[in-house]
Symmetry: C2
């Protein structure tokens, strides 16, 4: 009796759809816990990382579900663009901005833009042109020009999530800031390209189309950045004014969290790039807002934001792994095994070629403007940059669903969705597995150099100490060279000096920031941070 009463309680408490929500949430949370434990145990292992663990665990879980349902359907949750773009991506990108080493990021800003914008454009052109000619050879002739361009945009989106796990900010700071910074700009660039391709009218293409695309991109880039900076500054101002003398840790943390998310949602609302907006909002928050809150709030935000991002990352890979075994999709696809392998192989080849074509030339272009010998991107580093950006991830799958799966139930659509999944799985598992050993092998002599003080900067106290030391070193340093001469000699670092002066004089008094500590630029301290 108790049991029948209970089962009737179950079904009245939640409707059928809600009951299945409970089941799928339970399964996902259990798998997440398992991923965390396995990831921790494998941390010392040079081949594995959390992305690969969760991808493989997702595959296994999908297989088990498939077997339990007698090979009929595997998906507990179908891949959902909304879930991905509204809930999972924002914490990851926000945390990246919040934890990024700002000095290094902005010192490499021009190189990052070069890779992120022109690199993505070059990669888009190569992959589009390549698939236009090569896919015909395989026997896929029914592709429209729009589909080909969409494929170019879809496979130009690198996976910044996996990059974060493979490269280490402490061990290889220059590479990390270049590859990850490129990844953020690339996300925005490829998403903008994709939606631009979808919205263009291909019946009357003229010379203006390319110009319009460029204009849209520049407009989106500048407005998104401005919005992120504005929201970040508002949060700093609110917390500085409101909490003066009377702090409430919960409210401070809540305000930071909510305003960061608000910046992303506002960007989406105004159809800007939410990724860029929340990234810059994170940077501003760590530069101003974070210094206005209590010590306990600082520790909490640092670790709580990192944890949220960590859970989202693991969830995404688990999700992609489980989604890969969605049997309906494989059945609907019209390609036989040979065509599928050929197509995936072609796309993978184009991805590698498209990235090679821009990384090596652009790195040499960038080297012309990088004067310090330490800052040069040598051939080894170029190789690592090329390799670390080959992985494709959830953005690729989300865009591919958007182009090929929504609305139409065509066989060709299902065929390209399965190919996207194959490319993502293969690149993440195979490229991802060998990346760590490759980096270690190529850069082993550098990481052992006595100059890598960054290894020591592992907790907040150390960072504070470092700042104090820098400051002392700065005060001893000379500051006699003329500004104009320096601007010509070393443009990035001079802009940085002007920015510091402006920041100290106008920004920090209004928005707070590290205790108005006077900062004297142009000193040996510049050298202590950027030696990879």
């Amino acid at each position: 009796m108790a049991i029948s009463l209970l089962s009737s309680i179950l079904y009245s408490h939640f409707t059928m759809s809600a009951a299945s929500t409970v089941v799928s949430i339970t399964v996902f949370i259990t798998l997440l816990c398992v991923c965390l434990v396995i990831g921790h145990l494998l941390e010392e292992n040079r081949w594995a990382n959390e992305s690969i663990t969760s991808l493989l665990l997702g595959l296994c879980a999908g297989l088990v579900t498939l077997a339990l349902r007698k090979w009929k359907s595997s998906h507990i949750l179908v891949f959902d663009e909304e879930l991905f773009f509204i809930y999972l991506l924002p914490p990851i990108i926000f945390n990246a901005g919040f934890q990024v080493k700002k000095k290094r990021f902005f010192r490499n800003f021009s190189t990052i833009l070069l890779f992120g914008v022109f690199g993505t454009l070059i990669s888009f052109c190569i992959i589009s042109t390549g698939s236009f000619f090569l896919l015909k050879e395989i026997g896929i002739t029914s592709l429209k020009i729009q589909d080909v361009l969409a494929i170019g945009a879809i496979f130009s989106a690198t996976d910044s999530v996996c990059t974060l796990q493979v490269l280490n900010q402490e061990e290889t700071p220059l590479l990390y800031s270049l590859v990850f910074g490129e990844g953020v700009v690339n996300d925005a660039a490829s998403i903008v390209l994709f939606y631009a391709v979808q919205s263009l009218n291909f019946n009357n293409i003229d010379a203006l189309t390319a110009l319009k695309l460029l204009g849209t991109f520049l407009y989106l880039f500048s407005t998104s950045t401005a919005l992120g900076i504005a929201v970040g500054l508002v949060s700093a101002y609110i917390i500085k004014k409101l909490y003066f003398g009377r702090h409430s840790t919960n409210r401070e943390v809540a305000i930071m969290l909510l305003m960061a998310y608000l910046s992303y949602m506002l960007a989406e609302l105004f159809s800007l790039s939410g990724i860029l907006t929340i990234f810059f909002c994170g940077i501003i928050m760590s530069h101003y807002t974070w210094h206005n809150i209590t010590e306990r709030s600082r520790v909490t935000t640092r670790h709580a934001f990192a944890t949220m991002s960590f859970i989202s990352e693991t969830f995404i890979f688990l999700y992609v792994g489980m989604d890969a075994l969605d049997i309906d999709k494989w059945k609907r696809s019209d390609g036989n095994l040979g065509t599928t392998v050929a197509t995936s192989g072609t796309i993978l080849f184009l991805v590698m070629a498209g990235r090679a074509v821009f990384v090596f030339p652009l790195a040499n272009v960038a080297n012309c403007f990088r004067n310090e010998p330490d800052a040069k991107i040598d051939l080894r580093k170029q190789f690592v940059i090329w390799w670390a950006g080959l992985m494709r991830g959830a953005v690729t799958i989300a865009l591919s669903y958007n182009q090929f799966a929504t609305g139409s139930s065509s066989k060709q659509g299902a065929f390209f969705v399965t190919n996207s999944i194959i490319v993502v799985l293969f690149s993440t598992v195979v490229f991802g597995t060998v990346t760590k050993p490759i980096i270690q092998a190529l850069l082993s002599q550098n990481s052992k150099s006595p100059n890598s003080e960054d290894n020591a900067v592992s907790n907040l106290d150390d960072i504070h100490l470092l700042f104090l030391e820098n400051r002392r070193a700065n005060e001893d340093g000379n500051n006699t060279r003329s500004s104009l001469g320096m601007l010509l000699m070393n443009p990035t670092s001079t802009i940085h000096q002007f920015w510091r002066k402006f920041d100290d004089k106008y920004m920090r008094p209004v928005f707070g920031g590290r205790g108005f500590m006077p900062y004297v630029p142009g000193s040996p301290s510049s050298a202590t941070e950027d030696n990879v």
Copy 2:
């Protein structure tokens, strides 16, 4: 051109439903930020609190939406049971368990159970019987016996969320632990009662029905508690074994968060009471798991969990406020203004009467078993307990929707939903506003007593200091009375001593906990905590 391209990007990026999701999330997050700021500014105000602020702000926002849509519809989000039970309630209850002062809670455990279980049953009977007779007088004659019993269960659910904001754990510890502890048990009891009423077959009621209900309740209570304790212990064991010597703050925080949520979802999956489960999971986690993690993880979990709970609370009240102006519901309701006011008034009267009937007698029953003069619940405290439990909140609305709004579009259903909303709004705003002043007026002499050391215990360092002092005090204290004599003299405190011995000998060596610090019970330290 750029704008038309952009608008086409907007509509291709998100489908229409997703675009409306973006709008509603943006509105809600903006309102949450405003609530936080206003709540902070009003903190010193004796009349206002965050619940009332967000409720009123939600009402205003609903009004603006209504005006913008030309008085056609107000809801941006319709009240959704799933959102409430799956996402908003768990963090609140978990945090309550995690932050509750365990000693005080368990010392008052028998009193809490008395209020929570028998009190809820008495209140249920009074409200059901009362509405059976009184609603006929008003002119509502078509109520089925099941509806009347459901009304009893729906309005027996007190609002533990609002209670948390009105009472202060530091200032009035005994009252806080009694009222809040009762609230948690009451949540479980009224939800169990409600689903039991829904599932009973009213065609053949016999004497066994009441017995079955009691059996179900006891079964649910014990299994839910056991599940929460089990998951909490597993989390402590995993973190103790896995992270020994090598800590990762992100993984520790993520494991605690995920396992807590897992306990809730498992309880829902096995159709137990998720609220009870996650509450006990929180208690176990703060007793064992929390002591196994790094100092940084401790600060992060304390504040991150509190922030999550805080955001959920504010969100719920905002949500209820906005939902109240849902014009469709008001139109569908068949009652005229007079009937509506009369019904709401009757229900409010029954709520007050039903609570008075059990609080005062049960408090006197409890006093018979409370030997120390400090621990007695005098008439003033009884009045506060009665008053602080009068507020009705989101659980009432969620259950009311479940009973009256799902499936049927009947006029009577809409009528009772609107009445529930009126009761919730009125009790929260009116009773909530006067609660703080009433408590201050009634208990002013107590809170000024020099014994209230608890005020000082506001941060973690102080707690550590306090424990060290207690320990020293304990070692000086006498421990000569016989165990049996003490069990008869003071049963709760003796059980507590046995538990401490068991904990030190068997539990802590396996599951971790405050550094195996030897604890000698039966000493002056017991007195330092419970003087209200």
